[in-house]
């Protein structure tokens, strides 16, 4: 039995009984606060890139980084929910693209009011998420396989539906591209898309940490059989997670239209990998049951900071890709090491 976690605080000897090395103690802390390591990495990388190039810390550049992060950051909220249940969603990018094509075409072609078009886009995202959820629960398909299949299906549907054509922002009602507009917040221009992304994080964080549903999501990801025996309906929780993810992906579609000032069937389907990258760098375990959306936000920002900082340093895009790859491997190795605590 460990004296560290259970000794009553009143016992003055407890501190001296802790014979773990500083490294092990650090591991214990990182284990308890999964968002701590990405927070440290983000601060360090901002400092380093700021020293390498003074333009990096300019308000305009910081604003640009957040805008570059907004779409993947929103996809990553949905991805976090699914990975917390020990699943993975390869279709997030294609769901977003399909939803954005539906919104753009409905609003620009058929004279449907913009708000209604957005609702139809939301329904599209939720329906796609619901399909993933049904495949995972009713057919008991592994999420990796189910969403690998729907990734292709949704990608093809988006291309078929749009006839492969991009809808330009100018041809859409202003509400659809509203997410690309910026408003000044204390000297920095923040886009409304970024604010919507932050709202998604706030809502998801609240739901995960302060509602019974959130506890059930963690319990299901942690140990499905234990959750079942504790009286939790596994399939209900899983379906609700995929539906919620679908709604968030529809939000990402709106943000993407504003950011690109267009809806294109060819841009974004590959963001599934970027969203997984953000989640993993953010300290959420691929084994499920451990992690937070705040870690994911940090993870998405870390990727954004690295890409931006390296390109300001004049390095080729290939080096950004290389750096992100190394980050992922380091993050997953760190997770493996942290998880060795008292297992």
């Amino acid at each position: 039995m460990s004296a560290t976690t259970t000794a009553p605080p009143a016992d003055p000897a407890a501190e001296f009984l802790d014979r773990r090395s500083p490294l092990e103690r650090a591991r214990g802390v990182l284990h308890r606060y999964p968002a701590l390591s990405p927070a440290i990495v983000l601060v360090l990388s901002v400092v380093v890139f700021g020293m390498l190039n003074e333009r990096f810390l300019a308000p305009a550049n910081l604003s640009l980084i957040t805008q570059q992060v907004a779409v993947v950051g929103t996809l990553a909220v949905a991805q976090t929910l699914i990975i917390l249940t020990a699943g993975i969603d390869l279709s997030v990018g294609s769901v977003m693209v399909l939803s954005s094509m539906v919104v753009a075409q409905v609003a620009s072609g058929s004279g449907v009011p913009a708000a209604l078009a957005l609702l139809i886009g939301l329904a599209t995202g939720v329906a796609c998420g619901g399909l993933n959820g049904l495949l995972v629960t009713r057919l008991s398909l592994p999420p990796f396989i189910a969403t690998l299949g729907t990734f292709s299906v949704f990608t093809a549907l988006a291309l078929l539906y749009s006839h492969g054509a991009t809808v330009r922002g100018g041809d859409m009602p202003a509400l659809l591209t509203w997410t690309g507009t910026t408003i000044p917040v204390g000297g920095v221009r923040v886009s409304t898309g970024v604010m919507l992304m932050l709202a998604a994080y706030l809502v998801a964080a609240y739901a995960l940490s302060r509602t019974a549903w959130g506890k059930h999501v963690y319990a299901v990801g942690d140990d499905k059989e234990a959750a079942r025996l504790s009286g939790i309906s596994i399939n209900r929780v899983l379906i609700s997670v995929y539906l919620a993810a679908g709604a968030i992906l529809a939000l990402a579609a709106w943000i993407q239209i504003g950011r690109a000032n267009a809806a294109s069937p060819n841009v974004g389907v590959d963001m599934n990998l970027d969203s997984i990258t953000a989640v993993v760098i953010g300290g959420t375990s691929l084994f499920g049951g451990r992690g937070t959306v705040w870690g994911t936000l940090l993870g998405a920002l870390i990727v954004g900071v690295f890409r931006n900082g390296l390109s300001l340093a004049g390095l080729d895009v290939l080096y950004q890709t290389l750096a992100v790859g190394i980050l992922v491997i380091v993050a997953v190795s760190l997770d493996q090491w942290i998880r060795k605590v008292r297992r």
């Binding site: 963690y218 049951g289 297992r343």
Partner: protein, 266 residues
């Protein structure tokens, strides 16, 4: 099937309706026969121990009784009424709380969240009904009280994740959960297997407390001294069937073991 139960029935009111009764339960896993027509009666206010060798079907039996498994055949009666538990939450809703052998705790959640897993308490008013906000402080306070009631003084910090606890402490959490919410029947599958001498004593004490409150208890254990100390009656499970029902007065430990292993017939 043996009729030993009627011949050597123990003291607790044999004429009363059993709180929980199983008749002819059959459960197979592919070719493996887990239960082969088991009967069981649990009478009001008694402690019923289930003993048997590894693989005798003890855990399968209580899983069928508590909705964790659905029996292929047979019937279960609660207070004389036929019940069909399809999920563990059905049995829970009927007041049956269970500590499964695998403990069924969520390792990454803290102690309080585990105690209230699947029955979270929401804040009153709009915060709870609209915003679904859980009453975290209230649940933590109550969790601390449940643990204190159990005499588990080493678990005062209920915000610690369960995975950082020792095996025995995890078991204590699972037992505390069952004891706190079991209003009709409490079922414990080897609750003292990982516990030290003092902690085992506390669990046995808790079983007595539950019985004195009028809550009957089913307890599975391999520890014969514990069984003979606490049980009013003992259900001997062997090869997926009930070999006998005995009492600590009708049989010695050696005789009980002989029934368990098949060295003796009831």
């Amino acid at each position: 099937m043996t009729t030993a139960e009627t011949s050597v029935n123990g003291t607790p009111s044999p004429v009363a309706t059993p709180v929980l009764r199983a008749r002819g339960l059959v459960k197979t896993y592919g070719h493996v026969v887990g239960l082969d027509g088991v009967d069981l009666e649990l009478y009001p206010g008694e402690v019923l121990a289930i003993i048997g060798d590894n693989g005798a079907g003890k855990s399968t039996l209580i899983k069928c009784l508590t909705g964790a498994e659905i029996p292929d055949q047979g019937e279960i009666l609660l207070d004389g009424e036929r019940v069909h538990f399809k999920r563990p939450q059905d049995a829970r809703a009927a007041g049956i709380e269970t500590v499964y052998q695998t403990l069924a705790v969520a390792p990454s959640l803290d102690i309080a969240s585990n105690l209230y897993l699947g029955r979270e308490v929401r804040r009153p008013g709009l915060l709870g009904s609209v915003l679904r906000l859980t009453d975290r402080a209230g649940m933590r306070k109550a969790a601390r009280r449940h643990l204190t009631d159990l005499g588990i003084s080493t678990l005062q910090d209920v915000t610690v994740p369960v995975e950082s606890l020792s095996g025995g402490q995890r078991q204590a959490v699972a037992v505390a959960r069952a004891a706190a919410f079991g209003s009709k029947v409490v079922v414990l599958d080897e609750p003292t297997a990982a516990l030290g001498v003092r902690e085992s004593g506390q669990v046995l004490e808790l079983v007595r407390t539950l019985r004195d409150k009028g809550v009957p208890v089913i307890i599975i254990s391999h520890n014969m001294p514990h069984v003979f100390e606490i049980a009013d009656r003992i259900h001997v499970q062997r090869l997926g069937r009930r070999a006998a029902t005995i009492t600590p007065r009708s049989h010695t430990m050696t005789e009980a073991v002989a029934l368990m292993t098949g060295a003796a017939e009831a």
